[in-house]
Amino acid sequence: MNAFQIRYRNTQGTLMRIMNAVSRRALDLHYVHAEAAEHDHQVTLVLEVNQKQVGQLYREWYAIADVIHAGSGPAQATEWNSPHPPAGVTIDEPRPAARA
């Protein structure tokens, strides 16, 4: 698995374009987290990819108008296997569906 950090301007659709480069290749996405980073935003993706796909992803991400930087490194398994949703988040009881 590889972890990718992509820095981008948080304009309309930019995050979706970054994700689309992944989904159009039907890659397994193990983890995704997007957050503000100084003046920009950053998304971290953990993907199962081969070397050829890494090159394709980089080039496709860089072709997106508001991507600033893309970098990668080996994924740390413990870091990406945390519970989902995060343990601190509570989920409200679902409301009963309205019936006609």
Partner: protein, 567 residues
């Protein structure tokens, strides 16, 4: 105070737009209401797909941004094929779509579609306008992305209430792009490397793609190729970039390329690629594509590198910059003598076979048509067998003279695109070649042709089949002609007459005479020089095939040169 619709039109004018193609509807009505007196001429097509293809035709022949307009929902979704086509073929295109009013967005309102989402993966850039303030900036930025770098499609989706709202308007704005890593350009160091590669090479070749035309670097490219004097070939979008009479030019490469081009590409030890994506129709089996070659790839879009086959040296940048730099350095060095390789690769034993078999009359017909065209005519080909025959027989030197849907292969492209081309080039002869299948996909645009009196010369190569699919069924599916029979086609001559367009039929028998009779030649001349729109239906043998052909998944060296004799 100006309405949002007026601001849109003023911003379009500021971008140099004086012609748009579209189809009105509910959400975009305020924009149509503002057209009169805006300085923007609107061309009403009879389907939104016709509008977007017409805008593409305009853009492809001029190099300017084409603009298409449509309403929300079905109007916008009907643009999608054209948007995908523009993405594949690097066509600068801006689509402006009306959207339901802001308060209704996300409610599944009448004629609401998430156009931004639908087109996200097909566009280079897009924007759903949220306030009237955003309109000038969205249009300026959209046009910037459409025309910059590798050109492509942009969608600007504007809710109808933004078009109706009023606002103080201080004038169109300029968009200043931020620096991007993708803008990194090749430094001068690449030239030394290529010179060294050439000096080590004994069988170099050059491949020319659409980027050569888009960059506007045709004179520089031709000067470089003349100096290199190595076997050279073109993709379907590179046709016209290389002078046809050049002794080193081998024609089109790829699935239906010439045997000389495909053979040279298979044998080369150094491949110089100028502005081509190297897609699968060019490479054949990528693992056996140019198996002995080092590849130098001149390309403006880094995303196109290494997609199918890794290159040894990427040269990122606009060909208008990189070709002159390369050429200047090259002239400072002595190159090996490639005469022996040239005489093999460009020699008579690899020349094309004379057309034979069932396709012979159709090929002769295209030769007659193309040979009688005025200089600088523009030929549009739809998608299918006729497209490949036309590409094979195109022998003009006009860089934007052959237009087709290459990457997407969208049937129905040619007729509406011809509308855009003819409007952009009113004094140019525009010849639109379609098949009987593709012509019916946008046949309604005959009404647009008639309304505007555009003197487009339309040809249908009528084999009463979806011919290319049928050819594959014949060769690879044991002649199981599943759902490709169009023998119940309407009479196209009668249909054209219903649209008040003069039309006539030519039987393929007249092309069996060689040279053609005076009467047939005169008929073709009259057709090509008529000041009115005309439709010529050419009866083609139902089972005529396109050769050479590289079967899907095969190497270029495994091309089929002609029909296997049947037992």
């Amino acid at each position: 105070m100006l309405k949002g619709a007026d601001i849109v039109l003023q911003c379009l004018r500021a971008e140099g737009v004086d012609l748009v193609f579209g189809y009105p509807g509910g959400a975009i009505m305020p924009l149509y209401d503002a057209l009169d007196g805006s300085g923007v001429r609107h061309i009403l097509t009879r389907h939104e797909q016709g509008a977007v293809f017409a805008a593409e035709g305009y853009a492809r022949v001029t190099g300017k941004v084409g603009v298409a307009m449509a309403t929300s929902g079905p109007g916008a979704t009907n643009l999608v094929t054209g948007i995908a086509d523009a993405k594949m073929d690097s066509v600068p295109l801006v689509c402006i779509t009306g959207q339901v009013r802001s308060a209704l967005i996300g409610t599944d309102a009448f004629q609401e579609t998430d156009v931004f989402g639908v087109t996200l993966s097909l566009t280079k850039w897009s924007r759903l306008v949220r306030t009237i303030d955003e309109i000038p900036e969205a249009i300026a930025e959209g046009f910037h992305w459409a025309r910059s770098g590798r050109p492509g499609p942009v969608v600007i989706d504007i809710p109808t209430d933004m078009l109706k709202a009023k606002q103080e308007f201080s004038g169109p704005v300029k968009f200043t792009p931020h620096a991007r890593p993708a803008d990194a350009k090749a430094d001068g160091g690449f030239t030394d490397t290529i010179v060294a590669l050439l000096q080590q090479s004994s069988k170099p070749v050059a491949l020319v793609g659409a980027g050569a035309k888009i960059s506007g670097a045709i004179p520089e490219l031709r000067r470089l190729l003349d100096h290199l004097n190595i076997p050279t070939f073109a993709t379907v979008h590179g046709l016209g970039a290389v002078p046809q009479q050049a002794a080193y030019y081998l024609g089109m490469v790829g699935m239906h390329g010439t045997r000389a081009a495909n053979t040279a590409l298979h044998e080369t030890d150094l491949l110089l690629v100028f502005g081509a994506r190297l897609d699968d129709r060019v490479t054949g089996d990528p693992s056996r594509f140019a198996p002995h070659a080092k590849i130098v790839h001149f390309e403006i879009d880094p995303a196109q590198l290494d997609r199918v086959r890794p290159c040894n040296l990427p040269v990122i940048g606009n060909l208008a910059d990189t070709i002159p730099a390369f050429d200047a350095e090259l002239r400072r060095h002595a190159l090996p003598d490639f005469a022996a390789w040239r005489s093999v690769a460009c020699g008579p034993e690899r020349a094309e076979l004379d057309p034979r078999g069932l396709a012979q009359p159709t090929i002769r017909f295209l030769d007659e048509l193309f040979g009688r065209l005025p200089k600088d005519s523009v030929i549009l080909a739809d998608v299918g067998q006729h497209q490949m025959w036309a590409a094979q027989r195109y022998h003009a030197d006009s860089p934007r003279g052959f237009i087709t849907s290459g990457g997407l292969g969208a049937m129905g492209f040619a007729l509406p695109a011809a509308v855009g081309v003819q409007l952009a080039k009113p004094d140019t002869c525009v010849l639109c070649v379609s098949g009987d299948g593709g012509f019916q996909m946008n046949i309604q645009e005959l009404a647009t042709v008639h309304r505007l009196g555009l003197p487009i010369k339309m040809v249908i190569i009528d084999n009463k089949y979806l011919g290319m699919v049928r050819q594959w069924q014949q060769l690879f599916y044991e002649r199981n002609y599943a759902e490709t029979d169009l023998s119940d086609n309407p009479d196209f001559v009668d249909i054209a007459k219903a649209y008040k367009i003069h039309s006539f039929r030519v039987k393929e028998d007249v092309m069996r005479e060689f040279p053609v009779s005076q009467e047939t030649g005169d008929q073709i001349d009259r057709f090509l020089h008529s000041p009115e729109p005309e439709l010529l239906v050419f009866d083609c043998a139902p089972e005529a095939n396109v050769f050479p052909m590289v079967p899907a998944g095969a190497a270029l060296s495994e091309m089929l040169l002609e029909e296997e004799p049947t037992q």
